[in-house]
Amino acid sequence: MTAVFTFWAGLHPLIQGLIKGLAVIGVMFPIGGACSLVERKVSAWMQGRPGPNRALPPWLAWVPGIGLLQRLGLFHLMADGIKMFLKEDSLPGHVNKFYFLLAPVVGMIPALTTVTVVPFGAYFDSAGQMVPLVLANLDVGILAVFAVGSLGVYSLILAGWASNSKYPFLGGIRASAQLISYELAMTLSVVPVFLMINAPGGTGTLSLTDVVRFQSGTSGLHGTWFIMTMPLSAVVFLVSLFAETNRLPFDMAEGEADLVGGFHTEYGSMKWGLFFVAEYSHMLIGSGVFTLLFLGGWNPLPWVPLQTVIGWLAHLSPLLAHPLAVGLISIGIFMGKVLFFMFVFMWVRWTVPRFRYDQVMKLGWQKLLPLAIGNLIFYAIVIAVLQK
């Protein structure tokens, strides 16, 4: 064990960063893929059908108990992946080739870049201080997520424009208008959280780690999760998140009912697959940010922070208080919350009927935006009184 740590510490920082980045991507990609299967399974259960349950490689059929995995549809995941990679990679003749090929790549870049600033766990150093597990611990964390995340819209616009046909074009136009509209409400909805964590006299921080640190207390205001003190912010943020990730009931860019496939109508095989993975990556990151801001991050319960739980666990076995174990436990708690929110995304998709386009615009500009502004003013006054 110690040999591994010494070897790790001896590596060049660039190589360390590369390995860490690849490790995070190596976890995100399979989860994104698995979500496509979960989505199909969840939709099936909600509609009272069995869902995908047939695929089974013939050379595995003799294994006892494999029928359960087959009924869960696990092999459909493999089959889907292989299908997407091996399908003919067709390029329609009427498209603008450069931008057509560029669009899926542009979709992946912001999705994978925002991951770097989202903390996903923590451990405690020998002094008892919380050290976040994050690829780049920026002081402007939330701003970086919003800034880089907002670049994802170009993928949709470019795909719609470069496809050079009607339905993708309409999808691209709708996507750009929708994403810009909801960004405003989304950004304003998180401001109260940062007003709260920035006590007067401080230097000012927009770090996501500090938000979790604020929610890591054991009593009073410091232990409450922000979803309890700022429910309206959480609701506005969540609704905007659905719109920003183009999920039903806001799937205007895709609009299967009226636009065939929207911006990706002309795409096939892995190029289409990249859009798909980018959408799920955005959902994962969005759920992660929501968990950090409003659900206490890697703290298991309100007023019961990670450190308390680790203290209890250390009575069982001192091995559990090792930073490595603490890190894994915190990642587990965090991922549990994030995956629950992935389920919520699917839950809403199969429960709420989709909006018309004018309803989307009305909701964004006439309901969510005034709500977010009013919410901000209310909390600005309350926090000013509280912190005086």
Binding site: L143, S150, V153, I173, S176, I180, T203
Partner: protein, 168 residues
């Protein structure tokens, strides 16, 4: 390392900014602007000002250029007739040229750059906010107003004039 990064980012910024001006395809120009802004954000990061970099990305790359693309796609890009030349055009040109000349002249002969302070303020969120809402409040408003004027100018200049409009 920082020098290499600076050269790469600077070349990227300037080259794509050039692309914005010379390219005839409006979509290419808008994307050139986007890349230029990304390069500029990178330069800000190199200067240890991540806040500026991300605000730039969020406001300009995230919203403004996306709106540009939105408008470009909706616009009819076929060229129309230019505004007919009139006496007013001549007067406006003369006044504009006079103002521009005065501006450049006073900038070249009068402008004094303040010396760099010995100790730089720490680029914290609080310092940014204080400077922005006290010392630089008026300049920011003035620049914003100039952008508004530029926008009006663009609308006037790019408006298509029907030959029949005068007869109405």
């Amino acid at each position: 390392m920082a020098d290499t990064l600076f050269i790469i980012l600077a070349v990227l910024t300037v080259a794509s900014a050039l692309l914005v001006v010379v390219n005839k395809n409006a979509v290419n120009a808008a994307l050139g602007l986007l890349i230029s802004l990304l390069g500029l954000a990178g330069l800000f990061v190199l200067l240890d000002a991540p806040l500026l970099a991300f605000v730039l990305l969020m406001v300009y790359a995230g919203a403004v250029v996306a709106l540009f693309l939105f408008i470009i796609m909706l616009l009819d890009t076929t060229p129309g007739a230019a505004k007919p030349f009139s006496k007013m055009t001549l007067v406006a040109t003369l006044i504009g040229a006079g103002l521009l000349f005065t501006g450049i002249y006073s900038l070249a002969h009068r402008a004094v750059l303040p010396a760099a302070p010995a100790t730089l303020p720490v680029p914290t969120m609080k310092n940014y906010a204080e400077q922005l809402f006290t010392t630089y409040l008026l300049p920011v408003q003035v620049v914003g107003f100039m952008l508004l004027i530029a926008m009006l100018g663009v609308i006037v200049l790019s408006k298509k004039f029907d030959q029949t409009e005068g007869a109405k």
